[in-house]
Subunit: 231 residues, 2 copies
């Protein structure tokens, strides 16, 4: 399939790398291709800069947001910091954002007051809903936002069964995303379709706990599982 | 030990019942003993009214908030709706709230706009922190607030390993609470001490997801487990 990943950071790289390994034609969207290509300094966590990463992944096509959204006809993944959502989508342009499935894996994290981050939208609204409301023809599916990027694309990194939550208004779009999650290694029994996009409030609000657990466990390789009653 | 449970609803009943079964002398605090004794209508979920319940649990002593806080010298459990926290604690009176360990299992749920509830404090503050700030001499330990009351006092109702989170500023108070959780059936390996009371933001913000899962799973008998990486 033709897929686009918006964002060139660690999450975008993890998704684009996995999708290209799975045989998809992957477009990676960025603000400026020229600016991205000259970035070679790894980030604080040792993730390679996009200029370095793209050389090692020559099958991934680095393009502008607009071109990515036009070319990624089968699926678009929004994989940037939540803060950048509307800047990115506005740059991509409204006409192309029309009827496509957009996987939103971002979180509305606000680091402006340091660590731990707070959320810049929460409680009575979510970033997933804001994107859906701004682009009513997009089929927004919120998923994968409750775990670190290595776990997103390779759930077997974490012991035992653990859960991935799915929120969205369009049932067919959610099924399409579930099949993609299958290809990453997620089993149906560990996918929880919470309901419409308003349920993204719950998964985005999991982040403050996730961040504290990351500090406590000293590894991003963990995830939540929902255990149910003995039958 | 002498323990007090503030609150006479389903959560208070679950805790007081379990504590008295474990051999503790249990005081249950209420606004008005006379008013509570005449309540006999079960709630919407079939939980007995306090007037009915107390007759079936004659060893539990139903007293005012003030008396409960004075008598529950070893441990106080705040088991009411979060909205009632400051009304209850103000009624209990500041002098008795002095140096004791208070387990806060409440959540700041706001049902004023119907279902699903929002949180009346969240993101940059938590109810646990508000209680600790208002009563600096109390040793507030937030725990058990991320699951239903049957699971709180009997974790074996849920399959496999699952987690209970603990937040508080006082290490000794947390150890005391952990020993109580052991007596409920919680194993040390499933207790996660997140850190100081500000980490209660994370567990209180889990409630919007909990509420949606309750709707999805159609049972309150579930809980979250934190699964970590394969070692």
């Amino acid at each position: 399939m033709n897929m686009s990943v918006l964002g060139t950071g660690a999450v975008g790289q993890a998704l684009a790398g996995r999708l290209t390994d799975l045989g998809h034609l992957v477009y990676m969207g960025t603000r400026s291709v020229a600016d991205s290509l000259v970035k070679t300094d790894a980030d604080n966590w040792g993730n390679p800069a996009i200029g370095t990463w793209i050389k090692e992944h020559p099958t991934v096509k680095l393009v502008t947001f607009t071109e990515a959204v036009e070319k990624g006809s089968d699926l678009i993944v929004f994989a940037m910091n939540g803060k950048a959502a509307f800047e990115c989508l506005t740059a991509a342009g409204e006409p192309p954002l029309n009827g496509q499935v957009l996987i939103d894996i971002s979180n509305p994290l606000d680091f402006s007051k340091g660590f731990p981050p707070s959320l810049f939208v929460s409680n009575t609204e979510s970033l997933g809903e804001q994107i859906q409301n701004r682009y009513p023809k997009l089929k927004v599916v919120k998923t994968l936002n409750t775990m670190s990027n290595p776990v997103m694309v390779n759930p077997k990194l974490v012991e035992g069964d653990h859960s991935v939550f799915i929120s969205g208004n369009d049932r067919e779009a959610k099924v399409k995303v579930m099949r993609l999650l299958n290809s990453f290694g997620w089993e149906d029994k560990n996918m929880i379709d919470l309901g419409d996009i308003s349920t993204a409030r719950g998964t985005e609000m999991l982040l403050p706990l996730w961040v504290r657990l990351y500090g406590k466990l000293q590894t991003p390789l963990f995830n939540f599982n929902v255990n149910i009653s003995r039958s």
